[in-house]
Amino acid sequence: MANLRPPYLITAAVSGLLFGAGLYVSQMVDPLKVLRFLDFTAIPSGCWDPSLAFVIVPAILVMFIAVRIGRRRPAPLFDVEFHEPEYKRIDTRLVGGAALFGIGWGMSGICPGPAIALIAFPPDGIWLFLAALIAGSYAGSLIVPSGRTRRLADAK
């Protein structure tokens, strides 16, 4: 099992630490800050907070470079292959799922990364929110076909 070897797990830990640090430093753990970005009605009055854009653009650029480096390598350092997402089709499930996520995100200002990072300094209500997140994800897994073969067949 490649994914139980120490280098593999240390890589996962380092990545998680960096991710959590980034969410804190960027203040994306603060739901109000996220909502202040999503509130475009504040643009005319000059009260809009564009910070989220200043978070996601550098994140994409750094990852873009990593993807370019990865393309020139046959495999990642500690596994036999890059696990590229298998779905290619743009279907109702993608658009519908993104839309439902958008409603929940706009209602709360919390996306899954910050939801988990908030465990570090749990605000009132976060456990209820996480329980609902788990229940919703589980409900979704009941309608998303399980197993790689079925997913691939479905993705064609």
Binding site: V25, L35, L52, P112
Partner: protein, 150 residues
Amino acid sequence: MESFSPFTAALGGSLIGLAAAVLWLGNGRIAGISGIFGQLLPPAQTVVWRLVFLVALVLGAWATSQLFPALGVGGVHPATLVPPPAAWGVPPPVWLAVAGLLIGFGTKIGNGCTSGHGVCGLARLSLRSLVAVAVFFGVAIITVTVTGIV
């Protein structure tokens, strides 16, 4: 505008990008939180690294808040959840539970959230992710406008 924080935003964003880069070049995995989290649930696949990643994510946020409180939100409780708009008359726990259910369900069937589609998908130039990002940002902006939560 007093809350606009471009420098810490860009620093934090670069750290998030670096986190995604480490997981991709090291383990060939996408740092998509909803995916890493959602696949812990039955039918679970590879559990150990996902747990390690998520525990480290919590520790990373906590350690940074202790070591560099001035960099981020600051304080012992740097963030509170935002109460629902009073005009809607919905009790906060109900509002939160509905939001959590929609986010869990939506990211599961849509295969990703802000990190998986937003950071990693766009960096991979995935058309699927571009569509997802446009939809969830658009719908979230509409939702904030309609609910008047801010």
